[in-house]
């Protein structure tokens, strides 16, 4: 083995030069070219798919929000979501999951509490909700904490409550949910879903309420 000091230094020098040149290619040219293409071809998507209503941005159709209130459709729980603990002059949303295990008592309690709450909030006169009707996505936190969607079953379960609180006929709200239900892509990719922000924006337009 030739490990004399000068040879090692020469080799490390070559390594450093290779790193710098390849950083130029993969860390400067490549991301800038991709950014140029992205901004040229799909500016809306490249900048976060922002959703507008009443002439102002109300969020991104991709990023779930939490504080809709009971007059609107509710998103999934997000117990894994956090706030930044570093660089705290910003108030950043910290994406994340609960990471609680399937046999965790904490998770079991979260699920049971969420289920009881969903049943309580959505049981309106004439439309009692049974615990067995509550779908899994309504009582579990997503992986990102930012899941923008709920299952069609969870949306359907909320329809009577939303209709009642907004003074709308149930079938009108049902129609709205149907219009905002997206099936599987090409019929087999992913799962059917309802985008909560877009649904609530449409609901607000329907009721003529102001933000």
């Amino acid at each position: 083995m030739n490990t004399s000091l000068t040879n090692t230094a020469r080799l490390l020098g070559a390594g450093l030069r290779a790193l710098l040149v390849l950083t130029l290619v993969t860390g400067v040219v490549y991301p800038l070219v991709v950014t140029g293409l992205a901004q040229g071809l799909f500016p809306g998507r490249a900048n976060g798919s922002e959703t507008r209503a009443d002439g102002r941005v109300v969020g991104s159709s991709l990023i779930g929000q939490q504080d809709y209130g009971l007059d609107y459709f509710q998103p999934r729980p997000a117990h894994g979501l956090g706030q930044n603990t570093l660089n705290t002059r910003y108030r950043l949303i910290l994406s994340g999951a609960t990471n609680l295990s399937a046999d965790s008592e904490v998770l079991l309690r979260q699920v049971q509490d969420a289920k009881a709450e969903v049943v309580r909030e959505n049981s309106v006169p004439g439309h009692p909700v049974r615990p067995s009707q509550v779908p899994a996505d309504a009582v579990t936190s997503s992986g990102s904490g930012l899941d923008p969607d709920i299952s069609p079953a969870y949306a359907a379960l909320q329809v009577p409550r939303v209709a009642q609180r907004n003074g709308l006929p149930v079938d009108r709200v049902e129609k709205l949910v149907r219009a905002h239900t997206e099936g599987r892509t090409l019929g087999f990719m992913g799962e059917p879903r309802v985008n909560v922000l877009e649904l609530n924006v449409a609901l607000r337009e329907l009721t003529g309420r102001k933000a």
């Binding site: 083995m1 490390l12 070559a14 295990s101 699920v111 899994a136 579990t140 992986g143 892509t185």
Partner: protein
């Protein structure tokens, strides 16, 4: 259509896409690494490096190139993070501490991408784009280079020449990874992945008020993160974050990106050693394990055992509605059977059996199909061992591809096999024997133990996924998992490059 059928159809769609595209991809890979003319860009790069791309290297020279390049990579990335606060493009984020910088630098250079930090609150544009994403390319190119050098050792006789490391590194980057990642990144943006440099900005909310987001070059990083089987997320939630993986299509596409190079390399291997059948024997083994594990994972997750999941009525904890259980299961198996470690759902909240499968996938050594390059050389070491054992059973001198397998080769192959289990056992045992590391566990009891076991399994096998309840940002875990990643990456490379060249004599 039910979710189970949809899951199976998604798996079949992936199989179809891989079956179709591994042929041109494998042929292309074989051609890239089989000499020929240099592109003009490559000549510029060689001039910048000061290396002669046509000079053959013996195994010690090749290995020294790998180690020197990786050592410089670790040091450069470490300094970039340590100095972040003083550099432009930091978003005003502070410099990263020494233990976490060491861990992260090692993590990205070793193709592990274990992350003890949350991307959105720790790393600015400069570190993400010019540091971490760069190593996503280079660590993958190094993995492919080592695999190709090993293949040349099998293919060539009467020579010690394994090829030129700098040429393999540059060709893999310029001809394979950069163009493929650029196309993939644009596809991802079309699906909704963000790609901008807008920094941290306020965005309005439905109920009034505003939320703060960070933008970033996410699509360009996401593409190479999957294609290079790296797995380090721009955001804490990794590929579960809607800005990294917004739709069911991007999800399947990302799984495809993870698998395409590892599943194409066996064909390239077959072409390079002059026997496609040998390549397809490797491919068939990889595909069988991958399909079998995916089927088991789907079964485990769809039946959702575990008190909390039973109460919920489905294994949706830590999973996104748009992906559902089916494609989350495919992702989980694909990411742990390769050295990727990206996640679109959180393994810690999987069923006991499902979480166990992710652990087992990594413990197998990530060979089905394995990481870019590392999967192929891992599988070839296993082939050598299999041939040796078969040779003993039928009483013939063991040979693989015309090369005799002797005591020296078997010792090195055995060392290769023992490195990662040793690291996992020692790391886990030491963590549990000491009083404080256990404080990092989120879940109590058996699952807490699994969090620590998973951490060392993931680090030593260069995977990078986690039972992420564990608080890994402590001096202990940053240091020990960092060492496990280093040894788990480079010791096997020493054992891989060593024996084959000798056998060629």
């Amino acid at each position: 259509m039910g979710p189970v059928l949809a899951g199976v159809l998604q798996l079949l769609a992936l199989v179809g896409a891989l079956a179709l595209l591994h042929v041109p991809a494998g042929t292309y890979l074989a051609r890239v690494y089989s000499g020929g003319r240099h592109l003009r860009v490559e000549r510029w790069i060689y001039r910048g490096v000061g290396a002669d791309p046509d000079a053959g290297m013996t195994w010690p020279a090749y290995l020294r190139g790998v180690l020197a390049f990786s050592a410089v990579g670790v040091l450069f990335l470490y300094l970039l993070m340590r100095l972040q606060g003083h550099l432009p493009g930091s978003l005003g984020f502070a410099s990263v501490g020494p233990a976490q910088s060491f861990n992260t630098a090692v993590s990205f250079v070793t193709n592990t991408n274990w992350q003890s930090y949350s991307g959105e609150q720790t790393m600015g544009h400069l570190v993400q784009t010019a540091g971490l994403a760069v190593q996503n390319f280079l660590s993958a190119a190094v993995g492919m280079a080592v695999a190709v050098a090993l293949v040349r050792g099998f293919a060539r006789s009467r020579t010690d020449d394994l090829g030129n490391f700098w040429a393999d590194l540059v060709r893999g980057t310029v001809r394979v990874l950069v163009p493929a990642a650029a196309i993939a990144a644009v596809v991802l943006v079309a699906g909704g992945v963000i790609q901008n440099f807008s920094g941290i900005h306020e965005v309005g909310q439905f109920a009034g008020g505003a939320q703060q987001w960070n933008g970033g070059a996410v699509a360009s990083q996401e593409a190479i993160k999957e294609l290079g089987t790296n797995g380090g997320g721009y955001f804490n939630a990794n590929s579960a974050h809607p800005f990294e993986n917004p739709t069911p299509f991007t999800n399947l596409f990302e799984i495809f990106l993870i698998l395409i190079i590892p599943f194409s390399l066996p064909r390239a291997f077959g072409l390079m050693v002059g026997s496609l059948r040998q390549g397809y024997a490797i491919l068939a083994t990889m595909a069988t394990i991958w399909l079998g594990f995916t089927a088991l994972m789907m079964w485990a997750e769809f039946t959702h055992h575990g008190p909390a999941l039973q109460a919920a009525g489905g294994a949706m904890e830590g999973k996104e509605v748009r992906f559902g259980v089916g494609s989350s299961s495919i992702f989980a198996v694909s990411t742990t059977l390769t050295s990727t470690g990206a996640v679109d759902s959180f393994h810690s909240s999987f069923t006991g059996l499902g979480g166990g499968l992710t652990l087992l996938s990594m413990m197998l050594g990530e060979i089905a199909p394995g990481g870019t390059g590392s999967g192929l050389y891992g599988m070839l070491v296993l082939a050598v061992i299999a041939v040796f054992i078969a040779g003993l059973m039928v009483g013939r001198t063991p040979e693989y591809l015309g090369k005799k397998i002797g005591a020296r080769e078997m010792k090195l192959a055995a060392c290769y096999l023992l490195v990662t289990p040793a690291l996992v056992l020692v790391g886990t045992a030491a963590s549990l024997a000491l009083p404080t590391p256990a404080h990092s566990m989120l879940n109590p009891g058996a699952h807490g133990f699994s969090e620590v076991l998973y951490a060392f399994t993931s680090a030593a096998n260069n995977n990078g996924s986690a039972f992420a309840g564990l608080n890994a940002n402590t001096d202990w875990f940053n240091t020990t998992t960092g060492l496990a990643m280093l040894l788990g990456r480079f010791l096997p490379m020493v054992f891989v490059l060593g024996p084959r060249a000798r056998a060629g004599k």
